[in-house]
Amino acid sequence: MAILEVRDLKKSFGGLEVFAGVNISIEKDQIYGIIGTNGAGKTTLFNIICGVLRADQGSVLFNGEDISKKPTHKIAELGIGRCFQTVMPFKSMTPLENVRVARATAGKKNKEREKFSIDEIMEITNLTDKMHIKTQELSLPDKKNVEIARALACNPEIILFDEVSCGLSGEEIYSRMELMKKLSKMGITVVVVEHIMLFIKEICDQVSVLHSGKVICSGTPQEVARDAGVIEAYLGGKSNENIGS
Amino acid sequence: MEYTGLIQTILGGVGVGSVYALLGLAFALVFGKLKICSYMHGDLAILAAYLGYFIFTSIGLDPFLSLIVLIPIFFFIGYYIQVIFMKPFMSMEIWQGRYQAQIMVTWGLGMCIMAIEFIIWSGTYRMISVPYRNATLNFSNLTVPVVHLLSLGALLLIYLVLSLVLQKTDLGISFRACSVDRITAMLTGINYQKICAISFGISSAIAVVAGTFYALTHQITPAVGLELTFKGWVAVIIGGMGSLGGVILAGLLVGLVESLTSFFWIPALKEAVLFVGLLLLLIFRPGGLFKAK
């Protein structure tokens, strides 16, 4: 059974239609990629899943339960964690406090799913030696780590990553990839929004391509990379050599 | 008899309300569009009232004539307050940063203005005793104070002029441009900070008018400034955060609520009733009564 399912989602801002009926179904323990050009509505999709925005139509099912009307903090308690594209750690607190507060709220509500202790979280996110420095004084990659750590502390079943690679260098991106693989092995479903094809291709089991308000293609990364519609949307219809490398 | 009394009260309420509406208009202009928060316009209004009083008692100039001098002076005061005290905060994020800082700075300035008024004129109640202060127009058995009619007229005039400026002139179009997207406005070549300063100047000038009319209908004391500020803000909240027309209706409503409470109940409770109304509004319609489009 799908762990997260988006059914016939419609949303428009003012006159601008962002989603014209989006369907996505994510299986458990997968690494699922959602790609699309800038402005395709990837972040909006995450916002709707998390309950920050309300859809105009359609529903979001988590473990078969409709969560599209639930308040955000309830959705978090059910086990959906999230990292933002523009980093938003609690900047006046230390990384440790960031993790502690998450553990004390959403993490407390689903203790049975606890996979990592706080110490382990600090370790896998490389924050052990920085955990007493105020977050606002950390560098961007570290701030991203704080967000990942905070999401993990909620004991989620599924984590949504929004443009993790944004602003990171190759090596840093690589370590994130490793971390995601590790999480999915531990039984946490990972959803990645990206626009860098290679990143998706490397780690994802399933990919959906979001373009002008619709999912234009779904499947394994290899299938998607060969899809003519995707190539046109992504590269302006010239060639597919960029994907190949 | 009771009936005419009620009508009389309503008219009085609308008359007083027009002062609140003017202040609300001053706030809504800078807050609703440019997201500048001020807590000193009540004090500016009272300062203008005192200056009008001073000019009247020393050289006998009618307060309406002194407006000709006071309006440009206060425009520049407002302009430079924005440039000196508000500009450093304009780049901060809206609440937490910008609004809080601006509220505190303007409130501090307002406090200074109030203290200076205390020092110069002391806390005793003053009034500008112009000959037409108690003049009335009579319609059958209704008596309407001339000053109320004048303030209502001034309110409408200012509103019309403002809407016209906003719709037709380059300044108005730039202002509307700045209000939706300040980055794009800058990239279009509009001097954002200057537009802000001019708007703050205009809103200060409106406060002068409000203060003058307040002084003609009430006795003034320095401590009233903060009260007026808050009533202006109540008008803004009820009016739906920045629609100019809504603020005017809301300001008149505030005046009406106050005078009706005095009429039917205890005058000392008029403000309490007003704020209870505000709290109820926050429960049922947090967005305001007359929502901005």
Binding site: S245 | I173, R176
Partner: protein
């Protein structure tokens, strides 16, 4: 002569983190230059810094020999450097005509107002048909046209185009670039273009720079860049 010269530019939103880490490049007369790179490489930050929206932490920007870093955005527009921004770019609460008229801030632009207006309406006939309507009622592609139209109304002496294709359907993007090409040919001015679709950008420009992590890692003629494997690799991220 160098029209635009950027020297060791450092910019960032946080005091500790630099988005641009000492960037240098230049644009020659009547040249169209593309700046490509992945998301987060700092392209938009660069555009904002040139236009004066962001203050650089260090480094210099020269425009025709005049130092412009530290100048206010409207002063930079007055010099003739006009940007079509990635987001926004139009005022949805103003009509299309007002949007265009408000963009004549420079003296030269005021004199050429009628001529420019004709040029805009001629290039984008869709705008003429809707000129009395609010810009908020336009579709995404039309908004971009209006945004470009606004830049033209300013009689630009240098054009900065930031990610025109963002959020638009491929067909619209293609049309848009065709119109742009005509326009820039007519106006004969240098253009700096930032674009996430590499091919379009390099097709449009004669020369290109590749950015990653706030630094320029590669430069060359468009044709050469398109051929290099490195570009594809860098663009893709690892």
């Amino acid at each position: 002569m160098k029209i635009l010269e950027v020297n060791q530019l450092k910019t960032g939103y946080d005091p500790e983190v630099d988005v641009l880490r000492g960037l240098s490049f230049s644009i020659e007369e009547e040249e169209c230059v593309a700046m490509v790179g992945a998301n987060g490489a700092g392209k938009s930050t660069l555009m904002k810094t040139i236009s004066g929206i962001l203050k650089p932490k260090s480094g210099e920007i020269f425009y025709r020999g005049q130092r412009i870093d530290g100048m206010l955005p409207h002063e930079i527009v007055n010099l003739g450097i006009v940007q079509v921004p990635e987001e926004g770019g139009t005022f949805p609460n103003l009509t299309i005509e007002e949007n265009l008229m408000i963009s004549c801030r420079r003296k030269k632009a005021k004199m050429e107002r009628q001529k420019n207006l004709e040029l805009v309406y001629q290039s984008f006939p869709q705008l003429l048909a809707k000129k009395g309507q609010l810009a908020g009622s336009l579709s995404g592609g039309q908004r971009k046209m209006l945004s470009i139209g606004k830049a033209i109304m300013e009689s630009p002496e240098m054009l900065l185009l930031d990610d025109i294709s963002m959020g638009l359907a491929p067909k619209v993007v293609e049309d848009l670039y065709r119109m742009l090409k005509d326009l820039t040919l007519k106006m004969d001015i240098p253009v700096l273009i930032v674009e996430q679709i590499v091919e379009i950008a390099l097709d449009f420009a004669q020369r290109g720079y590749v950015m990653t992590q706030g630094e320029i890692v590669l430069e060359g003629s468009s044709a050469a860049l398109l051929d290099t494997e490195a570009v594809q690799k860098i663009y893709i991220g690892t």
